[in-house]
């Protein structure tokens, strides 16, 4: 019996413990679950703004004069699906797949064989067999000032295809009627043998908290409802050499459709040299993203002058369909072992580029109004062994079309709740329906929306959504969320959902 458990945010732990019920999770017996059907949401949990609260960070933190949010990773918060990240402030999501499995991670191990002239370390050492949540750890590294500092390390094996780690700040970032600033440090290297494969970072702001916004790769189509994305994967055209990189593309989505996908060379730049930044493994670059509805400025430092970002590029034509949203930082990869191989005989090639890469993040912050952070409750990852014998783990869940699959969230605090959102990734195709109900209440139906304005066939895959949850259907303490789908399609990926969590916005 599967027994998903909740992640309880620390401030409400005692109250939650007192309210724990004896009910256990699991699947209900078969049959139609009944209940009334109402339309699902997909929104960001209501249009009401969260209440403003006093600043939590000192002026100057994260290099911001008046930070609304600053994370320096000085305090690990072990437990939960995101390792050492503080789940009350962060939502962490993974994507990986194998031929017959989705939402799967195989063990991450340093590739140090004779053919690997590029390898990776994790917390300063080579590593073996890392699986979630041990693939996301806070440990010491070298900061932008050259001094030792705590950083968030995350790693995965790309499994020969596209894969992602994506972390979202739960606190809302607001740049309404102003230019907002987001800052972060990361060793933003790319594969220097890059001709398309490798690893790189991306930055997104989305108007709802759906996990893993992306711009489409085979089988990965989580276009955010409304979003702004930056892909830092500029290839092979920096005067500073192949270890330098630049902006590859800037994306804007509206209602799950691409409205801008601007190549980096159409952005305003001062020179090719200024448009690039030098990057090196283990040596962070400092990023400063300035964004308004009309304009985007991207500033990044070279790793060897890491405290002084320079202006890379300006995107002057954005017409963003939103002005407040959630910041996502992403580690992307695509079959890195494919580039830069060494021919060992006419038929065989050995990779030289590792498909297992680490990024180290630090000093993530933004300015603007300081909003209360929603209360957060993660649904624990599944822990089934992968079916292909790689020693990996299936962290997503299969859903049925005939019976509810039940998940429990313990210690839920609904006091003064004003809105709630259930966020998840799913493999359901356009037009299919995800049913959900809370605590045995009314059945809600969420129809997977199309993601493009152009006529599209078959372009399906992993999507991300944030469903509205009626707060009156939540209860104090242990809650159940049950999911079901309209149809199990022959040949469709069986792992239907993953990276799920409940957010509750509340007044103080």
């Amino acid at each position: 019996m599967r027994k998903p458990q909740s992640r309880i945010d620390a401030p409400h732990l005692l109250a939650a413990l007192a309210l724990l019920s004896a009910a256990c999770g699991g699947e209900t017996p078969g049959g139609d679950p009944g209940g009334s059907t109402s339309s699902g949401g997909g929104g960001s949990g209501g249009s009401e703004l969260p209440p403003e609260v006093p600043p939590r960070s000192l002026p100057g933190s994260c290099g911001l004069k008046a930070p609304a949010f600053c994370e320096d990773f000085e305090t690990p918060h072990p437990g939960g699906r995101s390792g050492d990240l503080d789940e009350s402030m962060w939502s962490f999501a993974r994507w990986g797949h194998l031929t017959t499995q989705h939402f799967v991670r195989v063990p991450s191990t340093s590739e140090t064989g004779p053919y690997f002239d590029i390898t990776s370390t994790f917390c300063g050492k080579t590593f073996t067999g890392l699986l979630p949540p041990n693939d996301a750890v806070i440990c010491d590294g070298i900061g932008v000032d050259g001094l030792t500092t705590a950083q968030f390390n995350e790693v995965y094996d790309d499994q020969g295809d596209f894969a992602l780690n994506s972390m979202r700040v739960r606190q809302l970032f607001d740049f309404t009627d102003r230019t907002g600033t987001v800052v972060f440090d990361v060793d933003a290297k790319i594969n220097p043998k890059n001709i398309g494969h490798g690893w790189w970072i991306e930055f997104w702001i989305t108007d709802d908290p759906a996990p893993i916004p992306y711009h489409e790769a085979p089988g990965i189509v989580p276009y955010p409802r409304n979003g702004l994305g930056i892909n830092f994967q500029g290839m092979n055209n920096c005067p500073q050499g192949r270890t330098a990189t630049r902006i590859s593309r800037v994306f804007v989505t509206k209602e799950h459709a691409i409205v801008h996908d601007l190549p980096g060379d159409l952005l305003e730049i001062e020179s090719d040299e200024k448009a690039c930044f030098k990057a090196e493994d283990g040596k962070p670059n400092r990023f400063r993203i300035k964004v308004s509805k009309e304009r985007l400025e991207v500033w990044v430092s070279d790793f060897d002058d890491a405290e002084n970002p320079h202006l890379l590029a300006v995107a002057p034509i954005l017409d963003l369909p939103f002005s407040r949203g959630y910041v996502h930082l992403q580690h992307s990869a695509y079959n890195a072992r494919k580039d830069g191989g060494v021919q060992i005989d006419p038929e065989h090639e050995m990779p030289t580029v590792t498909g297992v890469q680490t990024y180290r993040w630090d000093n993530i912050g933004f300015d603007g109004p300081v909003y209360a952070v929603p209360r957060a409750y993660e649904i624990k990852n599944n822990d089934e062994p992968d079916r292909e014998g790689h020693g990996g783990v299936l962290y997503g869940y299969r859903l049925s079309a005939t019976k509810w699959t039940r998940f429990e969230l313990e210690g839920v605090d609904v006091k003064n709740a004003t809105s709630a959102t259930f966020a998840l990734n799913t493999l359901l195709g356009t037009g299919h329906v995800l049913f959900y109900r809370l605590n045995g209440g009314p059945k809600h139906a969420f129809t997977i929306p199309a993601f493009s304005t152009a006529p599209v066939e078959h372009r399906e895959g992993m999507r991300g959504f944030a469903l509205d949850v009626p707060v009156e259907e939540l209860v104090q303490g242990t809650n159940t969320i049950e999911l079901m789908i309209d149809e199990v399609v022959d040949g469709a990926a069986p792992e239907n959902v993953g990276n799920m969590d409940l957010s509750i916005q509340a007044n103080p």
Partner: protein
């Protein structure tokens, strides 16, 4: 005879005048009279009273044969001519065509998806196409392809009957061979073929190829070079080639029937001033005015059928990389060398089509065929590799004047900044969206019954 001709001419003029109430008989201009005269003249060139039918094509005497069109449609939809899928991207995910190694998974219709306007909306990301592997260019729309003399983005073919040989024999597309295609035609289509083209030759001197043996067994490192993994017996046998040429002529007979059709813009030019919104009308004026877009997107199909370098960044779908594509400089040169060209033995006739091309193909370095803009809003991406995924970005591209010099594209760009304002960009996009027609009939798009 003279009197009869005169009568016919007068009758034709009368019919035209009656059909086209917006046309000023004095100057032949169409469209609302309150449009500036110079703009009206240029817009009239884009929207004649009746969209012309595909021109005569002497290279294919079966081009308008209904039986050939019926056969061609079946061939267009039939996956049994394709060899094994070579790219590991074929992992069964949506948008892929099966699993790596599987054969018989690719048809013309796989990348020219009928209900989408005979273009590729199936491949992941809808930029370059995923045939047997990732192609180096986007599969273009086939609507009004009958208007084109030179085919493919780079003019690699000057005769429609020779065009299918590229996808058939390309390891990245059908990954097949002309012998396998001929053998499959004999297995599945002999009766229909012989009813049109006469007796099909015996191909018994060749071993029967299995689908797995149809093409290459591995991807070549260089997509433009055949390698030792691709054997292709019978590739130089004229009898084998003739069978495939005839099949290709049937496919041309089918694709000549595919049209976008008249649009709201044409209704506007017919005199219905309400057919375009004010923004779309402004877009039309910008198109032929400040934008000078009709310099290349000229004539009733919004294409001059020529090749232009507009400075498109060589990067394509972000996960594939960069390919500084020589375009027509290489394509047209290859066409002239091709035994399957309009002057070759397999052609049924020749006109003056080569006269429209420059002798020195190097002047076309980095140049690509001007695409038609009719039904452009149906496309999920734009330019020869689908670099842009929104019409708004295409207009931004022309606002800036293309990628900056030294941006990595080969050759010299003809593009220049146009400095459109935000409102002007929106108007142009609105106008482009007003060029959508009804598209092909449901019958043309419906998958045919295939012979066993």
């Amino acid at each position: 005879v003279k009197a009869a001709l005169l009568y016919a001419a007068l009758l034709a003029a009368l019919v035209t005048a009656c059909d086209d109430t917006s046309e000023d008989p004095a100057d032949g201009l169409r469209g609302p009279a309150d449009l500036p005269e110079s703009a009206r003249a240029r817009l009239t060139a884009l929207s004649p009273a009746k969209l012309p039918a595909p021109p005569e094509d002497p290279t294919n005497r079966y081009r308008d044969d209904a039986r050939a069109a019926e056969l061609g449609k079946q061939l267009f939809f039939d996956k049994r001519f394709s060899g094994p899928l070579l790219d590991e991207s074929h992992n069964g995910d949506p948008g892929t065509l099966g699993l790596q190694g599987e054969a018989g998974k690719v048809a013309c219709a796989s990348c020219h998806v009928p209900e989408a306007g005979f273009l590729d909306v199936r491949s992941p990301r809808a930029q370059i196409s995923l045939g047997s592997s990732w192609t180096r260019r986007r599969a273009p729309s086939l609507l009004d392809v009958g208007q084109a003399t030179f085919l493919m983005w780079d003019g690699r073919h000057d005769a429609a009957f020779s065009q299918p040989f590229t996808p058939i024999e390309d390891a990245f597309e059908l990954n097949s061979s002309r012998l396998f295609v001929a053998q499959q035609l004999r297995r599945h289509y002999r009766r229909a073929y012989e009813a049109i083209f006469g007796a099909m030759p015996s191909l018994d001197r060749y071993p029967a190829l299995t689908p797995e043996e149809a093409g290459c067994t591995a991807l070549p490192d260089d997509p433009l070079v055949t390698h030792h993994h691709c054997k292709r017996p019978g590739g130089d046998d004229p009898e084998v080639t003739r069978v495939v040429v005839n099949a290709a002529k049937a496919i041309q007979a089918f694709t000549r029937t595919l049209h976008c059709g008249p649009s709201r813009f044409d209704r506007f030019m017919d005199g219905d001033a309400t057919a375009l919104t004010e923004e779309e009308r402004q877009g039309a004026l910008l198109f032929v005015g400040k934008g000078q877009c009709d310099g290349c997107h000229a004539g009733p199909f919004f294409t001059d059928q020529r090749f232009h370098n507009i400075g498109v960044d060589p990067d394509f779908a972000f996960f594939i990389g960069s390919f500084p594509d020589p375009g027509a400089a290489e394509g047209v040169a290859a066409m002239r060398r091709d035994v399957l060209n309009a002057k070759g033995d397999f052609s049924d006739g020749y006109d003056d089509r080569w006269d429209r091309l420059p002798e020195d193909t190097s002047s076309m370095l980095g140049a690509f065929r001007t695409p038609s803009l009719r039904c452009v809003s149906r496309r999920p991406s734009f330019m020869h590799t689908g670099q842009f995924r929104a019409l708004e970005d295409v207009v931004i591209f022309f606002t800036i004047g293309g990628s900056p010099e030294g941006g990595g594209y080969p050759g010299t760009s003809e593009n220049a900044p146009r400095d459109f304002t935000s409102e002007e960009r929106a108007a142009l996009v609105a106008f482009l969206r007003a060029l959508d027609g009804d598209g092909p009939s449901a019958e043309a798009m419906a998958a045919p019954t295939l012979p066993p």
